[in-house]
Symmetry: C2
Subunit: 147 residues, 2 copies
């Protein structure tokens, strides 16, 4: 079974060894050792990928640990199932809202960019999207208040 060194994984995921050790301190991964050096299994690598994705969607390391622990419990342990379901549900609706927020933001950014590009091509029909300087005229700020 293939293994990885800490710097291998760090390079692959674009993070520092320090970060990976930190995740270990926080008990998100427990690589084996060969002497004093850490040895990472493919499973550790997957966990690392999950950790990073968790981070990208806004989870804290503690939350990510909880979720990874939930995955681990699969090996036949007892847990508070209903509580788990509730947590998952909460998490899901949080994510759904987050996704909605992102879609709003994307929409605004896209229209803003579009208007800017119109301005650019008006001033300079040969523009290749890389010239500097210009004048910005106006995309309003009115939406955004929910609830």
């Amino acid at each position: 079974m293939k293994t990885y060194s800490i710097s291998e994984l760090a390079a692959e995921f674009g993070i520092t060894p320090r970060a990976i050790r930190f995740y270990e301190d926080e008990e998100l991964i427990k690589p084996t050792r060969q002497g004093q050096s850490r040895i990472y299994s493919p499973r550790d690598r997957v966990r690392l990928a999950l950790i990073l994705r968790g981070k990208r969607v806004g989870f804290s390391l503690i939350e990510i640990k909880e979720m990874l622990d939930l995955y681990d419990i699969n090996d036949g342990q007892v847990t508070q199932l209903a509580v788990t379901v509730r947590k998952f549900s909460e998490r899901i609706s949080l994510l759904e809202r987050q996704r909605a927020d992102i879609e709003h933001a994307l929409e605004e950014l896209r229209t803003a960019r579009a208007r800017i590009e119109v301005l650019l091509s008006e001033k300079d029909p040969h523009h290749k999207a890389e010239e500097p300087h210009g004048r910005l005229i106006g995309f309003s700020v009115n939406s955004g208040v929910h609830d």
Copy 2:
């Protein structure tokens, strides 16, 4: 034109006055004053909403400030348009990836929850999604490694 006090807005948005003052320190909002007290306009309120949404989608306060400034520039100022377009584009692709990550996470959470609920209803057909305790069996962790 209606105005708001700091605690009014704090209550409405579920944050503390301290947070709002902090945003002012960081120059994301500039309410007027009545004596020593801060007075918030509807426009300030909208900015606050935008700030909070920005936060939810993962922007830092500095980034949010930059974007709000860009919106403000609409009043006829000069800026580096092409740079702006580039920044917007970068931001857009970041958000798109984030959205994809969220959709992955949502998928996993939903299927995990579904399996748990199946287990729950097997053990207890009368379950109303609030009972405690149980046994969890297994949803695998294999996807998630992109690039």
